[in-house]
C-alpha cells in the first residue's frame, strides 16, 4: 500500500513505517478536535481518519496507530474528542476508542486481502470498518450504561451516525486512492 511505496526511497523501512503510524496517530488526535458545522449534525473527522489509517497503512500498522492514540489518552493527555484524558475510561463513549483499534484492523485486513483491485471492494472494507467501530462502541454503551437494552443502544449509539459515516467511508476510499495516485505519479526530479 502507500507505505510500501514510501520505503522504496528510504532504506530502513522500519523508520518509514513508524513515522507513517505516528502521522496517523497525530491525524486522529487532530481530527477528534475538528468539528465541521454541517447541518443537521456537526461531524468530526475521527472515524474518517481511522478508516484511512486501515486502508493506507494496512491492518497491523493501522491498528498500531490507534493503539498509540489510546495509550496516549490513557496516560492522561487530553487528545480525545472531549478532552478528558484518563477519564474517558469511565465515560459511555470509551467503547468507540477500542472500536477504532478494531475498525482500523478490519478495514486494513479486508483491503489487503480483498480479491481484485476494484475500488468498490475497498469501499466495502471501509464500511466493514465502520460497522466494527459501532459494534464495539455500542456494546460498551449498552452493557455498561443501558443494562443490556440493545433497543436504546441502537437509537443512541448507532442510528444517528449511519448516513454520515457511509459518507466518511466514501471519502476514506477516495482519499486513499488519490493519495496513492499522488505518491506514485512520475516525477521529473527524483529526490
Amino acid at each position: 500500500m502507500l507505505a510500501t511505496h514510501l520505503h522504496q526511497r528510504v532504506s530502513h523501512s522500519i523508520i518509514v513505517r513508524l513515522l507513517a503510524i505516528a502521522a496517523f496517530t497525530a491525524l486522529t488526535a487532530v481530527s477528534a478536535r475538528v468539528t465541521i458545522d454541517l447541518q443537521p449534525v456537526p461531524i468530526t473527522l475521527q472515524v474518517l481518519t481511522v478508516l484511512l489509517a486501515g486502508l493506507t497503512l494496512g491492518a497491523t500498522d493501522g491498528a498500531l496507530s490507534q493503539v498509540a492514540y489510546v495509550v496516549l489518552i490513557t496516560a492522561g493527555l487530553p487528545i480525545d474528542a472531549g478532552g478528558f484524558g484518563t477519564l474517558v475510561w469511565v465515560r459511555p463513549t470509551a467503547g468507540y476508542l477500542l472500536g477504532f483499534v478494531a475498525g482500523a484492523f478490519v478495514a486494513g485486513y479486508l483491503a489487503e486481502h480483498g480479491r481484485g483491485r476494484l475500488v468498490v471492494f475497498r469501499y466495502l472494507a471501509g464500511l466493514a470498518g465502520v460497522a466494527v467501530i459501532y459494534a464495539v462502541g455500542a456494546a460498551w454503551l449498552t452493557y455498561g450504561y443501558l443494562a443490556g437494552d440493545w433497543g436504546r443502544g441502537w437509537a443512541l449509539g448507532i442510528q444517528p451516525f449511519l448516513l454520515v459515516d457511509a459518507a466518511k467511508a466514501i471519502i476514506a476510499t477516495i482519499a486513499a486512492e488519490s493519495a496513492r495516485a499522488f505518491f506514485t505519479r512520475p516525477r521529473r526530479h527524483a529526490p
Binding site: 502521522a23 497525530a26 458545522d37 487530553p78
Partner: protein, 286 residues
C-alpha cells in the same frame, strides 16, 4: 470554525519544581489511574469527599495556582448549576432516589432524601474529575509522560508489544499534532476563500463526501509528506530502530516513588472498601 489551533490543546505544563513535579512519571500515571477508578466506583459521599481532599492536597503540594485552575470552571459553572438543580428537583420521581422521606413536594417538583444525596455525590464527583483531569499534564512534561508510558509498557514486550516503537510513535505524533492542526486550518481558509462549500446544508452522503474531500486529501497528503521528510532526516542521523538504543533521559524511580504508589493504592482501597457511614444519616436523620 477557523480557530482550530487554539482548540487543539495538548495539556499545559506548569513548572514549579515541587515534590510532585519531581516524582517519577510512572508513579503519576499509575496514581492517576488508581484515583480515577476509585472516584468512579465510589458510592459513598464521605469516601468521595476524602478523595477530593486528597486531590486538593496533591494540587497544593504541587504548588499549582488554585485560582488559575478553578478559573476553568467559571465558564462551565452556570450550566452545571442548572443541571444539578434540575436533577435535585425532578430526580425524586425516579425509583433510585424515591427511598427515604420526601422533604418538599409541589406539583411536579419533588425533593427527597435520595435526590439530595445523589446531587451531593454528583457535585463532589464532578469537582474530583475536574481536578484529576488536569493533574498529570500540569505536573509532568509530555516527554516524561511518554518515557513513563514506554517503561510501563515494557513488561508487555514478552507478549509481542513493541514498547520502544510505541513510545517513539507517541513522541512524534505529539509533535505532529499542532503542525497538522495549523495545516488543516490553512487548507480550510484557502478553500473558503475560493468559495469552497464548507458549512452548507448537506444531507446526501455523496454530497457530503464531495464537500469534505478537498479538506481531507491535502491534509492527508501533507501528513504523509512530513512523515517521509522526517524519515529521511532520521535516516541521515543513523536511527536504526529501538534495539540497542541508549537514552539521553534515564528515569530513576526511588523509594519515594514506591512509597507514594503504595500509599495511593492503599488510600483508594480504603476509600472503596470501608463501610463509611452515610453522611445523609448524620444531617438528614434516618
Amino acid at each position: 470554525m477557523f480557530e482550530l489551533s487554539r482548540n487543539v490543546l495538548i495539556g499545559q505544563y506548569f513548572p514549579t519544581n515541587s515534590a510532585v513535579h519531581r516524582l517519577d512519571p510512572r508513579t503519576k500515571i499509575l496514581g492517576t489511574l488508581f484515583i480515577v477508578v476509585a472516584i468512579s466506583l465510589s458510592r459513598s459521599l464521605l469516601a468521595s469527599l476524602l478523595l477530593l481532599g486528597l486531590l486538593v492536597l496533591i494540587t497544593w503540594l504541587a504548588r499549582l495556582p488554585f485560582g488559575a485552575i478553578l478559573r476553568g470552571l467559571r465558564y462551565a459553572a452556570p450550566l452545571l448549576a442548572i443541571f444539578l438543580v434540575v436533577q435535585l428537583v425532578f430526580l425524586g420521581w425516579q425509583p433510585s432516589a424515591a427511598a427515604g422521606p420526601v422533604f418538599f413536594e409541589w406539583q411536579f417538583i419533588r425533593v427527597t432524601r435520595g435526590s439530595l444525596q445523589q446531587m451531593g455525590l454528583g457535585i463532589v464527583r464532578l469537582l474530583s474529575f475536574y481536578f484529576i483531569a488536569g493533574l498529570p499534564t500540569l505536573t509532568t512534561t509530555v516527554t516524561q509522560l511518554t518515557h513513563g508510558v514506554e517503561l510501563l509498557l515494557r513488561p508487555l514486550r514478552r507478549v509481542g508489544l513493541p514498547a520502544a516503537e510505541i513510545a517513539l510513535v507517541n513522541m512524534i505524533a505529539l509533535r505532529f499534532v499542532p503542525t497538522l492542526a495549523e495545516e488543516l486550518e490553512r487548507v480550510m481558509k484557502a478553500q473558503a476563500s475560493r468559495c469552497g462549500e464548507i458549512g452548507t446544508r448537506l444531507q446526501r452522503p455523496d454530497r457530503l463526501a464531495r464537500a469534505l474531500l478537498p479538506l481531507v486529501v491535502p491534509l492527508f497528503v501533507n501528513a504523509f509528506r512530513r512523515a517521509e521528510e522526517l524519515a529521511i532526516a532520521m535516516e541521515a542521523r543513523c536511527y536504526m530502530g529501538g534495539v540497542g538504543r541508549t537514552k539521553y533521559v534515564r528515569l530513576q524511580a526511588t523509594w519515594v516513588d514506591a512509597a507514594v504508589t503504595a500509599a495511593l493504592l492503599a488510600i483508594c482501597a480504603v476509600a472503596l472498601w470501608t463501610p463509611w457511614p452515610a453522611l445523609a444519616d448524620l444531617f438528614l436523620g434516618r
